[in-house]
């Protein structure tokens, strides 16, 4: 039997491993700190296996090319960081409305603007959901370790294909650049979802077929000649001025995610069963939080940690359930207050407070422990 290979990898390298494992065969990107290693890795690996790598002239062109490649049938990836995310937003909205599967990696650095390129941050959480104009769905995953960057990148591709929508993987610079030993999964070990095959006759094919919640997407060039537009469209893909169809079009792209949140949510609970004080944290901050919770337990404080791996759709259910049985929730995050408002929205009883840091340094276990002790 094949043995799993152990490797010492940087987070961004693990992202490359995850993308290739998931079947990604197209990468378009533009150099930007701290995500560039993903482009470098893909440029070496993709041509070896018949995949395509292209360095485009800017961030906008990169995501546009990835969308075009996805429509031509290849699982496609682009990666960026803060300023690049701002530039990609119009195309993210396009992929949402045209329902083109795509994975976007955003390695979060300090912002706004050029900000602090080499420092960690978690300040793009809201940009990941609300960055593109108009109402649109968002799926964002937030891994905390090198191993998890690999597995969550695979999950991102699966969700993109399953829901025909762009999926973002958000991780802070600490996780992106840290090196940890990881186990490379064997083929078949992790689930890989491929694009649903179109089986109908070309003349019966509609790219947004009303009979499906999510219609299968035919690749360009396979005999199914169809139209794609960023205008509101009918089931045949052509623009419309019919207000009923426009409403249905806008609602369906939201509902196809909203109705399946249970399939997308993933949370990790640590010491929550009898907890009185809970910490809700993601990414590298969750690692500090876990340490703090352990210290608090050692000091006799009933503390626990809820770590969402899915940031969007926000894990309302888990946070609401938690907020009904703990007296306080602490939300440490590397920004000036983003996830804390989401947690607060879900909390009727528990007191919600944030710990915020934007000096380019991580939130320490001591900071979180101090906050836990205040609620004792």
């Amino acid at each position: 039997m094949a043995e799993r290979q152990k490797k010492l990898l940087q987070g961004n390298d693990a992202c490359v491993e995850g993308a290739l494992y998931a079947g990604c065969r197209f990468y378009a990107g533009y150099p930007i700190t701290p995500s560039t290693e993903i482009a470098e890795g893909m440029s070496v690996r993709l041509p070896k296996i018949g995949g395509k790598f292209i360095q485009m002239e800017d961030e906008i062109a990169s995501i546009a090319a990835a969308i075009g490649a996805s429509l031509a049938g290849l699982k496609s990836l682009t990666a960026t960081s803060g300023p690049g995310l701002s530039l990609k937003q119009e195309c993210i909205g396009y992929a949402c409305l045209t329902e083109v599967p795509l994975v976007i990696i955003n390695v979060m650095r300090g912002g706004p603007s050029t900000g602090y390129p080499t420092g960690p941050s978690q300040s793009d959480l809201m940009a990941a959901k609300w960055g593109a104009h108009g109402d649109h769905p968002a799926i964002s995953l937030v891994p905390q370790s090198v191993q998890e960057i690999l597995t969550e990148t695979v999950r991102a591709f699966n969700l993109a294909e399953r829901f025909r929508t762009p999926v973002m993987v958000l991780y802070d610079e600490i996780v992106g650049h840290m090196r940890e030993p990881i186990m490379l999964p064997l083929p078949g070990e992790l689930e890989v979802i491929d694009r649903a095959k179109v089986t109908c006759k070309p003349e019966e094919y509609f790219p947004y077929d009303d009979r499906y919640e999510i219609a299968p997407l035919a690749p360009f060039g396979a005999g199914y000649r169809f139209h794609v537009t960023g205008l509101n469209h009918k089931q045949d893909g052509f623009p419309t001025n019919d207000s009923n169809i426009i409403r249905a079009n806008n609602e369906r792209i939201m509902n196809k995610i909203e109705n399946h949140k249970d399939e997308i949510w993933l949370n990790e609970a640590t010491d929550l069963d009898d907890a009185e004080i809970a910490v809700v944290a993601i990414g590298s901050t969750a690692r500090s939080a876990r340490y703090a919770v352990r210290e608090a337990r050692a000091a006799g404080i009933k503390a626990g940690l809820l770590r969402p791996l899915t940031m969007w759709p926000f894990p309302d259910k888990a946070v609401k359930e938690l907020a009904n049985r703990v007296k306080a929730i602490i939300v440490p995050e590397l920004n000036l207050g983003q996830m804390v408002h989401e947690v607060d929205r879900c909390s009727k009883k528990a007191l919600v407070t944030g710990i915020h840091r934007v000096d380019g340094e991580p939130i320490t276990p001591a900071q979180i422990l101090e906050a836990i002790k205040k609620h004792k």
Partner: protein
């Protein structure tokens, strides 16, 4: 769109061309104004495509945003109406992912040269195999007649009421300087010549750019005191251009202020997708 055109000139017989073979008739009528040349360009393009013998399944037509960018909605290919300025980037992704597809980009001068200027120069530089048809009407028509990067000096538009002071781009010069291996110009007025030019462009391996002068009667024409569409076409497209083959025989003063038509630049240069396959993939696999 069911008109006829003389296509088999050699045999000197008029064969009605069946445009419906390539159109999506239930998506018509089109949105273009009476007098607009975009329909003439589309018809020339369909006749040229017909001559290539390409299958409709193997053609992908991509556009950006604007009047001309509505073209893909009317034609029965794999079609994509994308974002303002970004058509070439989407098209690059399609072509590179599936080089078997013949990719044709239909764009306007604002789409290709202003908001999409960066993509235009880099697509030409890569020499990726695709045909870029720029319908140059010196106007942002969809938004009601603002001046564009090809508007001549002193053009009156809704955003240049006192006359345009920005010197215009020459799309062909820019394409050539950026590395496109086929650069040509046509007009809606010279429709049969345009058909030949488009055919040559589509058959060319590499990035081919065809700048089609196609004046806007609704905004550009009225704001700049042209009496009629035919007057506008005669001044801008007929008298404003000279075929490159005749240009040598004319004295410089006759060429003053005129655009050259026909194939202006054609070289053999390695094509991007082939380079990737032959050089990058081969080296990567050997390592």
């Amino acid at each position: 769109m069911s008109g006829t055109a003389v296509v088999e000139k050699k045999e000197k017989v008029s064969v009605p061309f069946d445009y419906n073979k390539y159109l999506r008739p239930n998506k018509l009528p089109h949105i273009w104004c009476p007098g607009c040349g975009h329909g003439i360009v589309l018809k020339a393009m369909l006749r040229a495509i017909d001559k290539t013998g390409l299958s409709k399944d193997d053609i992908c037509m991509v556009s950006g945003i604007g009047c001309s960018s509505r073209t893909p909605g009317y034609v029965d290919f794999n079609t994509m109406h994308t974002l303002h300025g970004r058509a070439l980037s989407f098209a690059t992704g399609v072509k590179f992912a599936n080089p078997r597809l013949k990719v044709i980009v239909v764009t306007g001068d604002g789409d290709a040269l202003a908001i999409g200027g960066n993509h235009f120069i880099h697509t030409c530089r890569r020499n990726i195999d695709m045909t870029i048809v720029v319908m140059t009407n010196a106007t942002y028509g969809m938004t009601g007649g603002q001046y564009s990067p090809t508007s001549p000096l002193e053009t009156v538009a809704t955003t240049s009421r006192y006359g345009n002071i920005e010197p215009p781009f020459d799309a062909c010069e820019m394409a050539k300087a950026s590395g496109a291996s086929f650069v040509a110009r046509g007009t809606a007025y010279h429709t049969l010549e345009l058909e030949k030019t488009l055919y040559d462009a589509i058959m060319h391996k590499g990035t081919s750019v065809v700048d089609v002068i196609d004046a806007c009667p609704t905004y550009f024409g009225r704001a700049n005191k042209f009496k009629s569409t035919t007057h506008l076409m005669e001044v801008v497209e007929k008298d404003g251009t000279v075929n490159v083959r005749q240009a040598d025989k004319l004295p410089p003063e006759k060429l003053q202020g005129k655009f050259l038509r026909g194939i202006l630049h054609k070289v053999d240069r390695p094509e991007y997708c082939e380079q990737y396959e032959n050089l990058v993939m081969e080296k990567a696999k050997a390592k």
